[in-house]
Amino acid sequence: MATTTDTTTPTDTTTPTERTTAVAPARVREPGTPAVRLDGVRVAFASRREALVALDGLSLEVAAGEVVAIIGPNGSGKSTLLRVVDGLLAPTTGSVEVEGRPVAGPDPAVGFVFQEPRLLAWRTTLDNVAYPLELRGLGRRERRARALELLRLVGLARAAELRPHELSGGMRQRAAIARALALEPSVLLLDEPFSALDALTRDRFNVELLRLWERTRTTILLVTHSIPEALFVADRVVVLTSSPGRVAGVVESPLGRPRTLADLASPELALAAAELRAGLLATTDDPPADEPLARPGASVGPE
């Protein structure tokens, strides 16, 4: 985001379109250094019963300013992948780089939006968003001013003094996104951030995420279970296989930019989603339930 600009902030009074033209050229895309680069990453968890391999031989490059969605069945190590990029988890073998720097421990250039908002219940929304700045040692006045700007960016300025338990689920996740943007990350990781929201809110949030991206041009890695969401938000969709996670394939989104809510219902998206869905079936561990059930009414749980 503003790592390459200097004084500009995402909440400048300029309109989004002006911002886009103002910021995009400033964001030099050096062709040589991808924003994120994973090379032969293997992550194995030692367990008492057996070694669980979450990711194996995973290689992936994400260009600066690119939006990449990661999709795959349960157990394909999607969340593990994000944790490796954020430096929360060291790969067993293989290398991880962010902006050409090898990742060793949580990287300040990377922002993480978790599946749950993870707000601190004892802080107001504003102080939650200001939290990363506080850890960074910014003065109270400065970090609160900055946090308020971020809250405006995600449309939450009026909730600044409310506690998390007074917010709706959607508002909480907005606050979490604002918090992740506080340190102006050049790479934003989102781990199924909208999975707890209802379908309509989720669509709206996806559109807002795109608006946010248009303003900031932050590189985004989005883990999701939703095929239409992946194709709608991302430039490329990376499909992972199940245990261990490997790249099964990469699909380009058929949509151009900028995208609007209408694109979510477009035939191009529907077609691409159908193809992707067919491809995903092959990656899952669970066999399709095409055999008749032994007993009618028997439970069909995955166990």
């Binding site: 949580p106 300040p108 978790f114 601190l120 219940a121 004892w122 939290y131 338990h165 007074e166």
Partner: protein, 259 residues
């Protein structure tokens, strides 16, 4: 952590309920005295106790004893709660510490600390020290256990958030672990402060010279002043309520509403 506020109705409703309960208590007390024709040395009527309560406070009978007991409670509570916080935190932090210390903790808790009062008097005499020790011992356990539970139950996901934001150890403690553990810790302190009162009173029985516990014995055995004994009991009860209320106030200030 605090429950929903008193639902619909006048804001004075809780006050009315409190006063009502107090009236019922006093009336029942009087009724028992009258119904069974009880003598003053068995159970004095509430009016006698109230009168003695006032005179004991105005003629300087009770004041030095309250002061002595308060000092014991304050010191004992400070030592016991301080040690409880430190050990509880250590137990939550270190698996080895938990393994090594747990048996002693459980043994200490299973031993009635109050029964140690005579032994401590033999060891340390009848001065302030054994009383403070009894207080401290009795406060220690609930504070240690609740602190351990509080720090152990800190949401791991919040710790991961702190790690992702590159918080150092001190920051993680101050911004995540401590505030997350605080409600549980204060719950233990709430229990501890009332136990501190019990500890102080019982410790005074072992070496009776000063304090409210001593005054109970003096009133009963030397002065044959049963109303004074009950007035002392009332003072002890009030002391407990005030200390408990103080902790609740601190709790409200520190924890507030978290939903």
């Amino acid at each position: 952590m605090t429950g929903p506020r008193a639902s619909a109705g006048s804001p004075l409703a809780p006050v009315a309920a409190l006063v009502g309960a107090a009236v019922i208590f006093v009336v029942a007390w009087q009724a028992v005295v009258v119904a069974f024709g009880l003598q003053v040395f068995v159970l004095p009527p509430p009016a006698d106790v109230a009168r003695r309560f006032v005179t004991a406070w105005t003629d300087g009978t009770i004041e030095p004893h309250v002061a002595a007991t308060l000092v014991e409670i304050a010191l004992g509570f400070a030592v016991g709660a301080g040690a409880g916080l430190a050990v509880g935190w250590l137990l939550a932090r270190s698996r080895v510490a938990g393994l090594v210390l747990s048996p002693y903790l459980v043994a200490a808790q299973s031993t009635p600390v109050l029964a140690l009062a005579p032994v401590l008097t033999v060891w340390f005499g009848t001065g302030l020290l054994p009383k403070v020790l009894i207080c401290a011992l009795i406060v220690f356990f609930p504070v240690a256990v609740s602190t351990m539970v509080g720090f152990r139950s800190v949401d791991r996901r919040l710790l991961e958030l702190a790690a992702s934001l590159r918080a150092n150890g001190r920051q993680r403690f101050a911004t995540i672990e401590l505030p997350a553990a605080l409600p549980a810790v204060l719950g233990g302190i709430r229990v501890g402060v009332t136990l501190a009162v019990v500890g102080a009173i019982v410790a005074e029985w072992a070496g009776p010279d000063k304090g409210l516990g001593a005054l109970i014995l003096i009133a009963q055995r030397s002065l044959f002043d049963v109303p004074l004994m009950f007035a002392t009991l009332a003072t002890i009860a009030l002391l407990g309520i005030v200390l408990y209320g103080a902790v609740v106030l601190v709790e409200r200030q520190l924890v507030g509403e978290r939903g």
